[in-house]
Structures are given as C-alpha cells and as structure tokens.
C-alpha cells in the first residue's frame, strides 16, 4: 500500500502552505463543478495543467491515475449522447446521438479531469497527515481529524496483516474463482481481519491508558504563512475569481 505517492518532491507546490492549497482546491473544485460555459472550462483546464507543470509530477503517473478515474466518464459516454435531447448528429441503429448530448458529456469530461488534475497537483503534493493538520487549523472537527490520523496510521499495518493471511491462502493452493468456496474463504479472511483489528484496537487503548490518556487528544502542528504562500494564494484566488466571472458575468 502506497500512501503519499505524489508527496515526495520539492516543487513550489510541494512547499506551499497546505491551508492555502486546501482553500484553493475547494474554491476551484466548486466553481468548476457548477460551471458550464466553454471559456470558463477552458480556463479551468489551463489552470490545472499549469499547476501540474509547477508541481513537476511524473506525467505518466498522472495519466495512469486519470485512466482509472475516467471509467465512470467512459460509461456516461455510452449513454448520454443518445439520451440528451437536441439536434440530431448521427444514428447508430435505433440510437440517435445529439449535438447537445455530445457537448454535455464532453463538458462533464473536461470538468471532471480538470478537477482531478488540480486535486493531484494541490492536495497530492502534501503528505496526508499534513493535510489533516491543516484541516484541523481550518476548523474541521478534531474528532474527524483524529479519526483520519488513526485510520491512516493503521492502514499499512492491516494491509500487511492482510498480505500475510493472503499468502497463507496462496500456499494452500487457493485460486479465487466464481464459486461459493472462494466467497466463503474471502469472507472468512475479512472476518479474521476485523477480529484482529478489534484486538489491536484494544491493545492500542491499553497503550494509551499507560500514557495517561484521559479522553483528550492534542494537535501539535503549527503552520507559518510565508510571503510566497500569500502571493500564491492571491494568484490562485484571482484565477479562480476570473473563472467565476467568465462563467457568470462576462459576455452574459
């Protein structure tokens, strides 16, 4: 299990204050998610690509991710062009594709990919734990933050436990297939994983007691806004604001 895939790097975006990145990502995502005018979407794609370049991430890695993300979009391409009313473009047997339908799915595709790329460039470049600390500073409930921290902390531990049990199954000639034996065995594997997690949670509770835990958690991380953070924040807000005006004000 790889966590923080894109987080190792030393670009401007990697070093940027995570609070700035989170706020920028939020505004950008929301604007793009509700926008539909071509100019605004074009600007969104340009902004995302610019971020990607600044973050200096491996293009190959990013494309691989996008491939997986676009499965749902691909599914929509199979339907929407034919079910969205409008001017007929071409026919496939009984199905008629409309111009508006194609434009609509294309729009969705652009929006979806623009947001995902921006999220990779902005949020992917921060270790997930740092994001958690930043969210804490942005007033996300602390219970939620600690839930996130504990979950991330034990993700690998449990994944390794899973790997070992899975290896035990493999060496006993287990070959998954579409049959009850497979489903039963995998269900047992999951059951065992849950039971072991439950026991581990109990041991963690004891370890916490031993260190004087009495129901309070603390967040220790502090961030300092540097000048560059402010500058980048302003730039990104101006761009996002520009996109919003392309959508709602200009050329109305």
């Amino acid at each position: 299990m790889h966590i923080d895939n894109f987080a190792s790097g030393d670009s401007l975006l990697h070093r940027l204050d995570p609070r700035v990145k989170i706020i920028a990502a939020m505004f950008f995502s929301v604007i793009v998610a509700v926008a539909d005018r071509p100019l605004c979407l074009a600007a969104a794609i340009c902004f995302s690509l610019a971020l990607l370049l600044i973050a200096r991430l491996s293009i190959r890695e990013v494309l691989l991710r996008l491939l997986a993300v676009n499965a749902f979009i691909f599914f929509l391409w199979l339907f929407l062009p034919f079910t969205y009313g409008g001017e007929k473009l071409f026919s496939l047997g009984p199905l008629t594709a409309t111009r508006e339908g194609i434009i609509y799915v294309f729009q969705i595709t652009v929006k979806s990919n623009a947001i995902v790329v921006a999220l990779i460039a902005l949020l992917g470049t921060t270790p997930i734990i740092t994001l958690g600390h930043a969210l804490g500073h942005l007033r996300v409930p602390s219970k939620l933050i600690h839930l996130l921290f504990f979950t991330v902390r034990y993700l690998q531990v449990l994944h390794l436990e899973y790997d070992r049990l899975r290896a035990a199954m493999r060496i006993r000639a287990f070959r998954p297939g579409t049959n009850l034996h497979t489903y039963r065995s995998l269900a047992y594997l999951i059951g065992m994983l849950l039971v072991k997690s439950f026991d581990r949670a109990e041991r963690i509770r004891k370890a916490m007691l031993c260190r004087g835990f009495h129901g309070e958690f603390y967040l220790l991380s502090h961030f300092e806004l540097e000048r560059i953070d402010l500058v980048m924040f302003l730039i990104m807000m101006v761009v996002v604001g520009g996109m919003a005006s392309l959508q709602w004000i200009i050329l109305k």
Binding site: I3, P127, I129, G132, F149, F150, V152, R153, Y154, L155, Q156, V157, R200, R203, I204, K206, A207, M208, L209, C210, R211, G212, F213, H214, E216, Y218, L219, L220, S221
Partner: protein
C-alpha cells in the same frame, strides 16, 4: 508495604482469561517483587504469561486473586493505577500498538501532554529527549513510515518522555538488528532506572540485567544466574 525499598510487590496473584478454552489459569498464586535499583531479567517460554504479568502490573488487567502493591500502596481500581502508570513505563511487545500518533513528535509529546504539560513544555521535553537519545532527526517523521527498529526506539522514547521511575520492557529486542540492540543496551545501562525486561534474548539480558527470574507454570522463580535457566528458545 513493610519494606520501603520494595516498589513492586505482587502477592499471590492469579489470573486467567475467560476466553481461554483451556481452563487452566495463566498465572497462579504468583509472587514477584522488585526493589528500587533492581535490574531484573524475566525469561519464560512463549505463552507463559510475561505480557499478562506486565499488564496486570499496569492495571490493564484485573487479577482474579491476590494483591498488587506498587510504591507501597495496594492498587485495585482504575484510579489507583493512574499514579502507577505515571511512574512505571511499559514498553509494549508490539510497537505498532504503542505508536499511535501520526508523527514522532506528537507521539513522544502525548504522555507529557496528558500529564498536564503545556504544548510548549511537552514539545521541549520531546526535543530534549530525542536529542539525548540521538534520535533528533526523527522528530518530524511519520510514525507509519518508520522501520521496525526505529519504531522500537521511538516507542522507548515515548515511554521515557513520561520520566518514569521504573521501566518495564516486553521483549524489546524482537525484530531489531544488532546495531539497534547495541544502542538499546547503551541507553538502558547508562540510565539509572529500575527496570524489568522480558526477553528471549539471553545475550541481551546478560548485558542489561543482573537478577534473573524464570516464568513458567504460572509462577516466577528466582535463579542465581541466566545459565541456570534451561534453554527455552
């Protein structure tokens, strides 16, 4: 209670897990005593109850019979053990259970914060401790990215951060490479803490401890030296 020097005194303690299908109790009328300054090695085969013994001592399990006297006071209820846990530091057998905070600094500071220190004080204690253990480079590392040996050392740091008077270490050397074991020996022998170590590693025990007990059949028995304990591993 009668002797001020005795700091841990388990008197005829018995314990069995209900869940255990084999009805035999894990510990049976066990007596175990540690005096200030003792450096105790505890040897016993897997499943003999070393971890159970330590958990009883810390109040994480309740004995079915017998008394647990720590620092001259009989300890029975959860709140009796609060003081025990401040003064006795337990290093868990599995570091993954012990390092539960996202970053090393937060994990080490967790104890001091719970003891009522302010954020700044806790952070100061953490920095100082990590420096004294030559672990300062780890301060901002993420706990889930540490190797097994690193996890062990940081776990020890989290325990030491509470400035305990007694250390109880549950198989501290499992999975450690030789260098880390050396470092651990160094840290322990250069401290002047009272400690109890359960370990299968005889070499390690003979270098760090001078009083040896054997745990088996639900009882502990003192042995004059480590070689008087039959090879168990």
């Amino acid at each position: 209670m009668d002797n001020p020097e005795v700091i841990i005194d388990l008197k005829s303690v018995s314990f069995g897990y209900d869940g255990n299908q084999s009805q035999r109790p894990v510990l049976h009328a066990l007596n175990f005593r540690v005096r200030r300054g003792d450096r105790v090695g505890l040897i016993g085969p897997n499943g003999s109850g070393k971890t159970t013994l330590f958990h009883l001592l810390m109040g994480l399990l309740q004995p079915t019979q017998g008394e647990i006297v720590v620092f001259g006071k009989k300890r029975q209820h959860e709140k009796d053990f609060r003081e025990v846990r401040e003064k006795i530091g337990l290093l868990f057998q599995d570091s993954d259970d012990q390092l539960f905070c996202p970053t090393v600094a937060e994990d080490v500071a967790f104890g001091p914060l719970n003891l009522g220190k302010s954020q700044e004080e806790a952070l100061e204690i953490t920095r100082q401790l990590l420096r004294s253990l030559a672990l300062e480079e780890f301060e901002n590392r993420l706990t889930y990215k540490l190797s097994g040996g690193e996890k062990r050392l940081i776990s020890l740091a989290t325990v030491l951060a509470m400035k305990p008077e007694v250390l109880v270490l549950d198989e501290p050397t499992t999975g450690l490479d030789e260098d880390t074991v050396e470092r651990l020996i160094q840290i322990l022998t250069s401290s002047n803490l009272t400690y109890v170590i359960a370990s299968h590693n005889r070499d390690f025990l003979s270098k760090t401890t001078d009083i040896f007990y054997h745990l088996g059949g639900g009882k502990v028995e003192r042995r004059p030296n480590i070689s008087a304990i039959r090879q168990v591993c």
